[in-house]
């Protein structure tokens, strides 16, 4: 069994999960809802990347810059037009609204891009020799960019004034208000940031995986499993769990086939819920 190769493949996959899951977790922290449309923002990001590279014949790095801005705008629109109005109501309403938004996004994507799979042949092709292994360049670049951005956002949360405001809103909203933090502004910025992270994850997975409008359901749900395992609201927890689950998925896929490999994330999630409901590093899930 090529343990080392599988391990590397798992970690490279986990990097993408980390970017995706941290965005979702960030939004959960300040809004107390899971954004169902997170995965669909990712799908829109991936499909737009395909259009930019194969349709407009622009280089890939243009997509890395433009697409996150686009999905951030989309996310901000969702927040301002819909979710902000529901923020103080029951949780189910916001959740259902994001579910409906997800359906709208998927079906509009099918109208725009069609239902089929689209790849990005030739972008970041080839492989590099690393630690005695041949690693696909596209996977390596995805991993490095994803981890760099995930860590950058973490630094932003830990060390900047606005980052502290975001953390204070997610930990104690009432106290944040007393200290003069505008919850609305924090929520808007966080939602846009989370959406941008989803879009960037979409850009990064476009060269490796075939993209289609249903991509969101497949990937977005994994991000959810990651944050349950890592612990809701815990940024380092989500990063660690993303790498762990990436490795588990690759090993599971090797042993039991692709389908069971993906399902394994959820079996792990169930076990975590049974044994340690607040996750590896979580602040508690009985929100």
């Amino acid at each position: 069994m090529p343990v080392f190769e599988l391990l590397i493949a798992g970690i490279l996959l986990g990097g993408l999960y980390a970017l995706m899951a941290c965005g979702l977790n960030l939004v959960f922290g300040v809004m107390r809802i899971i954004n169902f449309a997170h995965g669909d923002l990712l799908a829109v990001g991936a499909l737009t990347t395909v259009s930019i590279v194969t349709g407009l014949h622009l280089p890939f790095y243009v997509a890395i810059v433009v697409v996150p801005l686009l999905t951030a705008a989309l996310g901000l629109a969702m927040q301002v037009l819909v979710l902000r109005r529901l923020a103080d109501g029951p949780m189910i309403m916001s959740l259902l609204a994001t579910f409906a938004l997800s359906t709208i996004l998927v079906n509009l994507s099918i109208l725009i891009w069609g239902g089929g799979y689209r790849g990005l042949p030739g972008v970041l092709g080839g492989s590099v020799h690393l630690l005695g292994l041949d690693v696909a360049l596209s996977r390596l670049v995805s991993f490095l960019v994803a981890m760099a951005v995930t860590l950058l956002v973490w630094w932003f949360l830990q060390s900047t004034r606005f980052g502290r405001a975001i953390r204070s809103v997610s930990q104690a909203p009432e106290l944040a208000v007393i200290n003069g933090i505008s919850i609305d502004a924090v929520r808007n910025v966080t939602f846009a940031l989370g959406a941008a992270m989803a879009g960037l994850a979409g850009v990064l997975l476009a060269p490796t995986f075939a993209s289609d409008p249903q991509l969101g359901a497949r990937f977005g749900i994994k991000a959810f499993a990651v944050i349950i395992v890592g612990g809701m609201g815990s940024y380092p927890g989500a990063m660690a769990a993303a790498l762990l689950l990436g490795v588990l998925e690759v090993f599971g896929g090797y042993w039991f086939g692709q389908v069971i490999g993906s399902a394994m994330l959820f079996l792990v999630m169930l076990v975590v819920l049974l044994v340690r409901p607040r996750g590896l590093l979580g602040m508690g899930v009985r929100a």
Binding site: L96, A100, F224, V259, P277
Partner: protein
Amino acid sequence: MKSLVIIVVSAALAAVIPFVGSEYALSFTVQLFVFVALAYSWNLIGGYAGYTHFGQVAFFGVGAYTGALMMDAGFHWLLAAGAAGLSGALLALPLGGAMLRVKGPFFAIGMFGMARVCESFALGFDGITQGGTGLYLTPVTDLKPLYFVLWAIAFGMVVLTWKLDNSRLGIQLLAIREDETAADALGIRTTRLKIGTFVASAIAPAAVGSLYATYLSFIDPATAFAPMTELTTIAMVLLGGMGTTFGPLVGAVVMSVVNELLWSRFPEIYLALVGAVILAVVLFMPRGIVSFAMRRAWWWVPAARSSLRRLASRPAPSRSPKEAH
């Protein structure tokens, strides 16, 4: 009393459709019954117990596959539906034990994930389920028996909910919904009740899933586990009124008609439009039609928990002097 009249009249109306209606009316009503059964089941766990979730379609799909595989093996469709209902309960029991430990968004989306896992199993074990190709079944020649079984399940769920609404059990579930810790402190066995309700809410969807597979004489993972089924069901409950006796019925009828109109006018963007309709319901009518009508006390709307209200308004029995001290 009003409740009984509404149930009897609507059940009688639905019962004459196969004799007077067209083929189209029949197929529309079959779909409506499926959604009524789904909506009432979801209303039990989501509306009454307050554990809203997005994974009911898992039971629908598992039931559809259980039933389809049994019919494939030569069993009668009615027996297959019974076995499917049982399979739903058997799946819900361990799943409820694990998932009901979490509340709110985690339970809601965790269940959605479970539905996706079931779907990927249906795709992955293609030796049994034929994977994405789907299972083709021998079509039933006479739809009437199927129609009346669905009719019985749909109105059975209505009657069950009506009974629940007027029972101690229903109030205990509402207590869990409003404040689980307080309910626990009052001596309500919350865990047992929650899991019981969850299992009860899984049986009808699984049975109906099997009957729907019989009706289509075909099942594939995309049909069995469609997220749209889930979204439509929840939207129906929401539009009608969560945790009310007649909300799911009203919601299912209104939503089915709206969907049918959208489907015939705008087939390309139909699903996106349904999403927009649901968004509109969430934004502008979150309490639902029946709750709205109840608060306005419209004459045709029965009050919630009417028999318990009557019980409560009776004068207290006079106490003996001994008890007064």
